[in-house]
Amino acid sequence: MRILAFLILLAAPVGSIAQIWEDRQVFGPEGAAETLRIISSTDTSFFAPIISDYITTYPDTAVEYLVTSTAELDAAFRSSPAQYDVVISSAMDLQLKLANDGFAARLSDIDHPDWAQWRESLFAFTSEPAAIVVNTSALGALPVPNTRQELIELMRAHPDTFAGKIGTYDVRQSGLGYLFATQDARASETFWRLMEVMGSMDAQLYCCSGEMIRDLRSGQLLVAYNVLGSYALAQAQTVSDDGQTLAVILPSEFPTTMMRTALVSQQTAQLQSAANFVTHLIALQSAGDPANFPLPPLSAAPETAGQTTISLNPALMTYLDALKRGTFIKEWENAILQGE
């Protein structure tokens, strides 16, 4: 029974800031008393129902939803923190550093489990594992790999099939890709072997999960590593016209699980509305109704079924250290860019 009274405006260039948004939409009534500016790394399609529900509860607020990649989001927000009210990102490390550096307002009224928040200023609201996504139609008779080790063996056994048809994040561009890669590297040596094998197969590098899934569906990719499970599952459920089917595999030895987090800018002029939005977001999350919360809600406990959820801890800043990052990128490049 959602009244379609919301104006959805199409993207329009914003003032003087030379920011290229992947998407920009305004929800809510024209001439609303307040307009909440949300900067996010999550596709609008996932957030539209959440924002609509929020506006039903707070009808005199409009929401401007801006989408960009995690790394650009971090840079844009750091350069002008007063421009944005709410920051939503999947790059937990960048978000935690924002909170650590004092960019996040403390919201002490929000009741949220300890492991899903940091300093009452950074709030996790999804649990999303990094997945191996396989185009099963194109894979043919070959077995579907269930672990990283099986993936390595499969690629080694059929180098011709996989050459040029493997995709993963370019960790230099994507904040989330870098987070997944560093957490994988921290957990197991297998990661580096996998990167080396992928490098020897001329792996394709991507900025975002969405593009990897698009190329998987088109058959350009056979396997993509460390794709966001939530995006992939949404696609896997719909069988595309050309009959390509996707399988989403959570590596059974240690699936790396990320939590999407939200924070309210310390310098927001609309603290109450921004806090309301985060509270509302968390409430929708715990209700877990897919109709108005299309993202995977937080799993009950952080360490169930061998899932390793990246925890909100100052240690997340370790790999953001310039020296550490330099070393890691160099090692990663050495592994994955063998052809060049």
Partner: protein, 455 residues
């Protein structure tokens, strides 16, 4: 007899105040000292963790192919996670060159290689604890000094200190409450000793002036000592004044009796009517003087005894029948029938000598002022209050005088030649009032006086 006493404060209160005040001061000192100590320990704990983190970062420094590498472990920062989610900052320098971290983090003036330096600074508007350490690496081009500062906000520390403060405050209050209870108890037992002495002195009979024999605490020895001497002196002076009164009575009455005897003897020998008249007047004056002296001494005695009233059980019936027995001869001289009528037992707590004196004066009046061959009746009534009435068939009291007759030396105008001093009713009234009663004088409707003592 309760005399006015000037009061300044209370020993018990003063003692309790000093002790509880002392306890309060001690409790505050306890709070401050324990808090200071525990906050020192808590700070030490934070320093230890910072120090561990710092050395794990420094240990990871290495020179590989002439390049400085600082591949510090994830644990370096994860060990700094706290329940309050404290913020963490760090800065890494090679010699004076900033390498990574937070460049604006305050660094100590002088670097020490041997052990980490700790300091508390304000950073990003929050107080932070900063640990700074350095390490020298020997490269091919000579020694290179790597210095690392690692800082953590103090939210968890503040939270812990608040918790500790609350506990220590509870401890301090508990200590204060217990110490106060002890102080009050101590003050109570101390003043209890005084109270016990006081009651033992108050409970004594007025005639008991013996020294306090019960053992007392050494601090009270001077007080009890001087009390004992005072009582000894009082006892002595009381005995002296009683002796003095008896002596005075004796000294006045004896010579008067001698003079009267001489006057009587002379009267026998004198024939001249004028001389006889003078001698009669003389004897009468002597009688009056003797009566006055006797009544004066009785009055003095009553006044004295009333001030130190003795409290013994007195059976008024017994006292009266004895009195009637003694007065019978006087009544018989005037052919007056003296009778005693009792309603029931009449017991009273008091001084029998005073009561006897009062009643004797009333009976004396009745016998003196009533006509011969009449009846004097003594009635003891127990309802509604204990009352003793002395009734006669005489002329009764003159209506215009009855108010004043109990005054000192006041006699009625119409007493004829009856000898008297005007002190009898005064004595009766004083003795009755000492027992909490009063004297009433009325005339009987059928004629005659009715003097009553109401208790």
């Amino acid at each position: 007899m309760t005399a006015e006493v000037n009061v300044t404060g209370s020993l018990r209160r003063r003692l309790a105040l000093i002790l509880t005040g002392g306890a309060a001061v001690l409790a505050v000192i306890l709070f401050v000292v324990v808090r200071a100590l525990t906050s020192q320990i808590a700070q030490q704990e934070q320093d230890n963790i910072l120090s561990a983190s710092l050395s794990s970062i420094l240990d990871s420094a290495a020179i590989i192919d002439g390049q400085l590498q600082l591949d510090f472990p994830y644990a370096s920062l994860s060990m700094l996670g706290t329940p309050a989610d404290d913020r963490v900052f760090y800065a890494i320098y090679e010699d004076e060159t900033f390498l990574s971290g937070y460049g604006d983090l305050p660094a100590p003036q002088q670097l020490r290689i041997d052990r980490p330096e700790f300091a508390t600074h304000l950073f990003n508007a929050d107080p932070v604890r900063i640990a700074t350490g350095a390490r020298t690496l020997i490269g091919t081009d000579g020694p290179r000094v790597i210095s690392v500062s690692i800082a953590q906000t103090q939210d968890a520390l503040a939270l812990r200190l608040n918790g500790i403060s609350r506990n220590v405050a509870i401890l301090g209050i508990g200590f204060f409450v217990m110490a106060s209870a002890l102080a009050l108890w101590a003050a109570a037992t101390t003043s209890d000793q005084l109270m016990r002495l006081t009651t033992s002195v108050t409970r004594r009979g007025p005639q008991d002036l013996s020294p306090v024999a019960k053992p007392v605490p050494s601090e009270m020895v001077p007080l009890v000592g001087s009390l004992n001497t005072l009582m000894a002196r009082l006892d002595q002076s009381l005995t002296q004044s009683e002796d003095f009164i008896a002596e005075a009575a004796h000294r006045i009455r004896t010579p008067l009796a001698t003079v009267r005897a001489h006057a009587e003897a002379t009267l026998q020998r004198v024939e001249n009517p004028e001389n006889r008249k003078a001698l009669h007047a003389m004897i009468r004056a002597i009688d009056e003087s003797s009566r006055a002296a006797g009544q004066l001494l009785d009055h003095a005695m009553v006044t004295f005894r009333a001030e130190n009233l003795e409290q013994v059980d007195v059976d008024l019936n017994e006292l009266l029948s004895e009195l009637v027995q003694r007065m019978k001869p006087v009544a018989e001289m005037k052919d007056i029938a003296l009778t005693l009528e009792t309603e029931g037992p009449a017991l009273i707590l008091g001084d029998p000598i005073l009561l006897q004196n009062a009643l004797r004066n009333l009976i004396d009046n009745a016998l003196k002022y009533a006509a011969a061959e009449t009846a004097v009746e003594i009635r003891v009534k127990t309802e509604p209050t204990l009352t003793i009435q002395v009734l006669d068939d005489g002329p009764g009291f003159a209506a215009d005088e009855v108010e004043t007759l109990s005054g000192r030396f006041v006699r009625g105008k119409d007493t004829g030649n009856k000898i008297g001093s005007g002190l009898g009713l005064t004595i009766a009234q004083a003795a009755t009032e000492a027992h909490g009663g009063h004297l009433s004088l009325i005339n009987r409707p059928e004629g005659g006086a009715c003097a009553s003592l109401h208790f």
